[in-house]
Amino acid sequence: MSAFRIPGKGRVCHDKPVRFTFDGKQYQGLEADTLASALLANGVHLVGRSFKYHRPRGIVSAGSEEPNALVGVSRGGGREEPNTRATLQEVYEGLTAISQNRWPCLHFDAGATADVLHRFLPAGFYYKTFMWPKRFWDRLYEPLIRRAAGLGVPPSEPDADHYASRYAHCDVLVVGAGPAGTAAALTAGRSGAQVILADEQAEIGGALLADDKVQIEDQTAADWLSAAQAELAALPNVRLLARTTAIGYYHQNMVGLAQRITDHLASPPADAPRERMWRVRAAQVVLAQGAIERPLVFHGNDRPGVMLAGAAQIYLNRYGVKPGKTVVVVTSHDSAWHTAFDLADAGTPIAAIIDTRPAIDPALTEAAAPRGIEALLSHTVTATSGRLRLRSIHVNAVTDGKVGGARLILCDTLLMSGGWTPSLHLFSHTQGKLAWDEASQSFLPDLKTEACHIAGGGRGLWGIENALQDGAKVGAEAAMAAGFNATAPALTTQNDRSGAGIIIAELPTDRGPQSTRSFVDLQNDVTSKDIRLAVHEGMHSIEHVKRYTTSGMATDQGKLANMNGLAIAAAAIGKPPPQVGLTTFRPPYTPTTFGTFAGYHQDDTFDITRKTPIDPWAADNGAVFEPVSLWRRAWYFPKPGEDMHAAVARECRATRNAVGIFDASTLGKIEVVGPDAVEFLNRLYTNPWTKLAPGRCRYGLLLGEDGYILDDGVIGRLSEDRFHVTTTTGGAARVLNMMEDYLQTEWPDLRVWLTSVTEQWATIALNGPNARKLLEPLVEGQDLSDEAFPHMSLADCTVAGFPARLFRVSFTGEMGFEVNVPARHGLALWQRLLGEGEAHDICPYGTETMHVLRAEKGFIVVGQDTDGTVTPGDANLGWAIGKRKPDFVGKRSLARPDLVDPNRKQLVGLLTDDPKVVLEEGAQLVDDPNRPIPMQMIGHVTSSYWSEALGRSIALALVEGGRMRMGETLYLPMASITHTAKVSRTVFYDPDGQRLSM
């Protein structure tokens, strides 16, 4: 048993020792210890180095508000986490934890030189120091800052754990299971309401876990709590969630709960999720989050051994741990006196209680005397000493506002209390209004925006009895609001140690302001001097002070720091705190793992991968895939030894010289049906559709009302009232949405029905001079001759015995067919065509070859050659506009002055002077490379490929006034070279289209 553990005391299992290591050294704790309580039981206060100055830091709190005791926890094999709060991490056999932000080790840290240089690192130093000279930023300042500042080191391996998520509904959700929350859950639970009670600690009970004096209903707090826990567990309508943090309060009473499931287990079950996110929709929410103790602000208040008094009470009564050998208490609130009494009664010498107040409840001083505790009223602490652990403090009397001479008191522990801040983070998430309470110098809940109720310490009440009774009352109100009949039990107590206090922005001191280092934000290393400097430099709103000093911007969101920071800023500005404001709290309440948010959306279930019916063949035949919107598409099919360039060149040659086969199933397909279908397409697409005969198809162009190209695709007329509309792969859902929008809201009188059939058809494209030879013998019910089935035809027929919708279209410039068969036949048809195609030198090709072949013909890809600011005229698609149509979507915009400007960026071809140079897509064009930088850019490359057919590179580009620049030389300045290229037409290959009938 260690020197600081009191045998038999607290709720830890004294007969169940647990071994763990911290920074490689082995220690022993007890089951139900946190890492923090186990370290303190071993006399370890020093647990980390601070963020900016690398100052030695110790454990300050006993909860999730902890700013200092952040450690790295590792189980190995991809299970490690930085910045774990030692105050929440439970110990288990074999737990491995390390301290952070120190080099080479915790006891000697080279980075601590920053502490000596603190005068050169004032508030806003990022803004001031490192702005100039600019070029020093990348090379010097940023790497230096990155090495010196920071918290833990991110894991190097992928997270090996998995995470769960779950939705839940209930009548009453109670957040926080201290006395108020427990009483609320009991009251609501007894009414029959469906109740969820969540608490971030391992055990429900809150303050009741650390008070062995109070009696509730004539029982000890422990007995009453055991009975309450048992009753709640037995109620079938109550769900208890321990180790569960309410991280965010969202609209309409949805609360996110992050539940830790395995982090406390020595050997987690292999199939257990590490954490689970609950999304709870509650009819009524009870917020019983209690209050967080405020540190006091004085010189040297960050030394290891300086701790919140309330935390020491928890370590003593809940974990049976004494915080040190000799303790001094400094406070402005009664509560810390009781901590001192509990410690003294447990055998810890209390050297003194220092209270900043000149007068207090005489019962406290009367209780101190028999315990031999010296009480110093109207005193202050002006300094602390001790390198890695507190050794002594300076205590001074304050008379009429004047600080007297210092007296040295030896102690290894200083417990502080600056009063208590109602914890209203979740209430703040709802945009609920806070009101300043002058008496308690704190913000209390005011106007609510959600069906929520606040109980206990969260609304400024103090003491166990107040919390219990308020919790019961609020629990009953919530249950009744949810439609249940509830009665609040009386819940009387004895020996409840209620009390009061004052708020003091910063302790009086005899030190000069320049030599005072009183920390306000321990996690971000912000001092009171920094805050005053920010005010002096013109930051007069707390939001500005926060950003300038970074106070409250660390991972603890200033749970300890914000109110002290506000009080100091308000004093410096000379306005009352509510006029200076309170910074907004945002979810999550405490840092939450990415895994918890991701839940099941991990690895294969991260996102949908859409696969075509032919995808299995592509996977079996070595396809390299690329993602296209949600689809995975075969990019190219390398043969052994081929790189991408060689494979694509071979696929291009085969398609131009024989026949290529391509899986086009991802094309969006919408069937537009009804007596007004042709009128609908006339209004929506730029082209005229009335005269398109059944059995024929046409390229269709879709604009937004702003006149810019949105989508394109071939549209076939199946019969008078039935059209097969194809869209781009990525645009299918968007186009269908737009069609539905116009149909439902602008033209509800049109008798038209829309059906997405993208996944109902498998689409196989055959392109090349041998395409017809391959297909003809397999087709029944349609003559494929040029006369009977010319380019841009379609027909219902059978192909290889499968019912098919056959198109004669081409996106390559070669003779082309697209065979649509019901999706279930797609793979069989593909394999049949490949088999029959052997005699015709068939070659499967992927999307890259498709892109090369279409670019050789100057066919655009919407979204690659257009970017949402390209008109049909810009893209040389003026021919696709039905000139005689009175109206279509986007027509009016095409007459807007800026859309008819002849100097607009227009799509042109580019041929590099060096035919071997394949330009980078996105490369910027200039017309004179000798102009001073920044040069005016006149356009950019949208598509660029090696053309196997032409034996040279080709590119498409959007260029200002491009069509007037034919033959002109343009320049592409790259990092190390400037390329030159001549503007050309966009059709590079077979400009007369003779190959369509070959």
Partner: protein
């Protein structure tokens, strides 16, 4: 996450099922060719950008697929009411 009432399904459902579709009660002009450049600009681009109740369109995309109108308070982000497409703009709003 908001709950949204679909006036066609007559059910209050999670926001995840819905998509936003811009400001409501901006009808496409019957004959755009008669509009001046300024009038057409206003139709295309000029929006209310209300602080407070905002009339807007939503679609029950992962449900019935219908577009409908809603009034949402842009300060509180809360829906005040929803109604079917084509119905007139409500004259009074619930508190």
């Amino acid at each position: 996450m908001l709950l949204i009432h679909c006036p066609y399904c007559e059910a209050t459902l999670p926001e995840l099922e819905f998509t936003y579709a811009g400001e409501a009660h901006i009808a496409r002009p019957a004959d755009p060719s008669t509009m001046s450049d300024e009038q057409w600009r206003d139709f295309l681009f000029i929006r209310t950008n209300a602080r407070g109740p905002h009339f807007e369109r939503w679609r029950h995309a992962h449900g019935c697929g219908r577009f409908f109108n809603a009034v949402r308070d842009t300060v509180s982000d809360k829906f005040l009411l929803t109604y079917k497409a084509g119905e007139p703009k409500p004259e009074s709003l619930p508190e």
